[in-house]
């Protein structure tokens, strides 16, 4: 049976032939590494609170510290190995966001600081800011228009 008779058939055949990612192992690693990163964040946050910072400031401090750690590990050429092992475990926490800004900045240094580092820094993380900020503004506008308890955050 020739699998190349139609595109649909070939796609089906290719899907069958291509090995799947080791999802069980990946999920396990993503779970415990992701949980661990969050727990480190929680410990930092608790320390901040103990030292008298409020909830919001503590959250910001946690973000900055985790971003700094991720940036240092990226700069030391370690983060990509961590990312390969952890998968979503290091991508989904704020560490992944930091890595996605630091890694193109390092990569495109060869094209100069302005258009290379400056211009390409957001090739991966730019969409996160665009969609994050835009959707937050839409949420805010809906809140202003309807001002209902359906949108009750605070």
């Amino acid at each position: 049976m020739d699998p190349t008779q139609s595109k649909q058939e070939y796609q089906k055949y290719v899907d069958k032939k291509s090995p799947n990612s080791p999802t069980g192992k990946n999920i396990f690693n993503a779970f415990w590494t992701g949980g661990l990163i969050c727990s480190i964040g929680q410990i930092i946050m608790n320390i901040c609170k103990e030292r008298g910072f409020d909830q919001t400031t503590s959250g910001t401090i946690v973000s900055i510290i985790l971003i700094a750690i991720a940036a240092i590990l990226t700069g030391l050429n370690i983060f990509n190995k961590i990312g390969k092992f952890c998968g979503a475990g290091s991508l989904v926490p704020i560490t992944g966001f930091a890595n996605s800004i630091v890694s193109p900045a390092m990569e495109y240094k060869s094209e100069g600081y302005v258009m290379g580092v400056g211009g390409k820094m957001f090739t991966v993380a730019g969409p996160v800011l665009v969609f994050g900020i835009s959707s937050a503004i839409i949420v805010g506008l809906l809140y202003l228009i309807f001002n209902t308890q359906a949108v009750t955050l605070v």
Partner: protein
């Protein structure tokens, strides 16, 4: 400075944080393995979901329950943007809608940009040996 270490290592709180944070990452891992989505798309999905769930008032409960387990993942970044927007909208109306979100997330964004710039000054990318 007196730190009450029993409060810092509140094991039940850390366990909730660990489980919820890990569970959110599992969703991300399933997206990586089962779809052809690139890392950028996955991050966008998480940040948008966080903003929407934040706006609907749902994500607040996850944050109350899991603390950093909900705020450290990128959904928390989206939640933070939405929360900041609404808080500021309550105070300043329409102009607050535009200023609140980024103000709330400013620390993270500025830190990432700054450290990215510093890293590009001193570090060089290397081939992945493995």
């Amino acid at each position: 400075m007196n730190i009450n270490w029993a409060n810092v290592f509140d094991w039940m709180q850390l366990l909730r944080c660990f489980l919820v944070g890990g569970a959110i990452c599992i969703i991300g891992q399933i997206l990586i393995d089962k779809t052809k989505l690139t890392p950028a798309r996955i991050l966008v999905i998480f940040v948008t979901t966080g903003a929407v769930l934040g706006g609907l008032g749902i994500y607040k409960y996850v944050v109350d329950f899991a603390g950093a387990g909900a705020t450290v993942p990128l959904t928390g970044f989206g939640y933070n943007l939405a929360k900041g927007t609404i808080e500021s909208a309550q105070q300043n109306g329409l102009i607050g809608v535009f200023t609140g979100g980024v103000k709330a997330a400013a620390g993270g964004i500025a830190a990432a940009v700054f450290f990215g710039y510093i890293a590009s000054l001193i570090a060089k990318p290397k081939i992945k040996k493995q």
